[in-house]
Symmetry: C2
Subunit: 227 residues, 2 copies
């Protein structure tokens, strides 16, 4: 049996002026044409902004690359579904009969989309500040447990440590090309690891920079694959 | 000669409480370690949110897919660089000597990043509402000229018209697999076009849906390539 939206609303510490918005956020497209897809589009963009500004403030020393990686570690389907499950969001979803039968209430994408849709609904109901506060509360534990230790390390070190932790051979860097005159040389370096077939090519004004850039791309690739 | 930031600030209709933030937004990483990369990270997320909420309001009938495509058409390196050029932003950039020599002030990525960094700086200086208003003003013409006509068309129609406009053969759709029992069948369809080697595979509960999904993926691919 599907539980009443009001109970979830209360559990999330929310109170909607327009409860229909909240119900819409819980409505999967399999259940109705008036569903949560548009609200999810909105919520996704709000979440990106709220976490970005929070990270910007918490880590004044972190580079843009580190901030991006930190955000990707917080905002992804897996972590959103985890937060959704923590509040038993699946029990409140409005799903079509097909999705109900196939266990859609447990599916990560459906849970994560609904949570983002709630953010969108809250924004429409109460504006950006209320929404911001709620998202920051929702993510407070995750934000507290973040530490720069793992992220401040340069990409080559991170990638090397990752390979070591998996007892794999270390990454290999190969210079592909070097171009340009002395004062504006560009280096292209390929990074290959035993874990995947794909290689990543980084560029930079020095060989070292190009290697770091290739390692960074490889970390992003591995990060995407694991999501 | 690099022009003074104050002049650009005025031209953009802005007034900073902390002008150093504005100067930082114009500082490319080639010029200083105190550069615009962090502000760009912040600005990018704000821009995504501001345009998302605006499109959500302007087009109450548009689906999530249409909203996403509309946003991608507004927020991309090319369109941001165009806005930056409109305000001669390149004349005010602080670039390292290498970038200066190689014409970095004309490079789309540098222009687009600096514009996003200004958004981040404005947010830090004056909060989200002021920033939102300015971004909406900046994009007002582009927003006004948007029409759903092109976006409401289903993906297959859009792709077909695109091919016709380029005088190319029409897309080809091939059924790859059909699986599941009668009431929960899944179709996989491949879409191929003469323009690129890659093919896109869409899935859906009907052959028609799978074709639309494949066409949509193809449009996204072409869109990415053209950016």
């Amino acid at each position: 049996m599907i539980k009443k939206p009001e109970a979830l609303c209360k559990k999330l510490g929310l109170r909607f002026n327009n409860p229909q918005l909240f119900t819409m956020a819980l409505t999967h497209r399999s259940a109705s044409s008036s569903n949560n897809e548009r609200l999810e589009f909105l919520g996704d963009s709000i979440l990106g902004f709220v976490i970005a500004q929070k990270l910007y403030d918490i880590f004044p020393e972190a580079s843009e690359g580190v901030l991006s990686r930190l955000r990707a570690s917080l905002v992804n389907q897996g972590s959103l579904a985890e937060l959704a499950r923590k509040h038993q969001l699946g029990d409140y979803l409005l799903l079509g009969s097909g999705e109900l039968k196939s266990g859609g209430f447990r599916r990560e994408s459906i849970l994560s989309d609904a949570l983002e849709a709630i953010m969108g609904a809250l924004y429409k109901d109460q504006g950006i500040e209320a929404c911001q506060q709620w998202i920051e509360r929702l993510f407070s534990e995750k934000l507290k447990s973040l530490s720069l230790d793992n992220w401040q390390k340069d990409p080559k070190t991170q990638l090397q440590e990752l390979m070591q932790s998996k007892k794999l051979d270390l990454p290999e860097y190969t210079l592909i090309t070097m171009s340009g005159l002395a004062h504006e040389q560009m280096f292209k370096v390929k990074c290959a690891i035993p874990l995947i077939e794909e290689a990543c090519v980084g560029t930079g004004v020095s060989r070292k920079r190009a290697e770091q850039s290739a390692a960074e791309l490889m970390l992003e690739l591995l990060n995407k694959d694991s999501q």
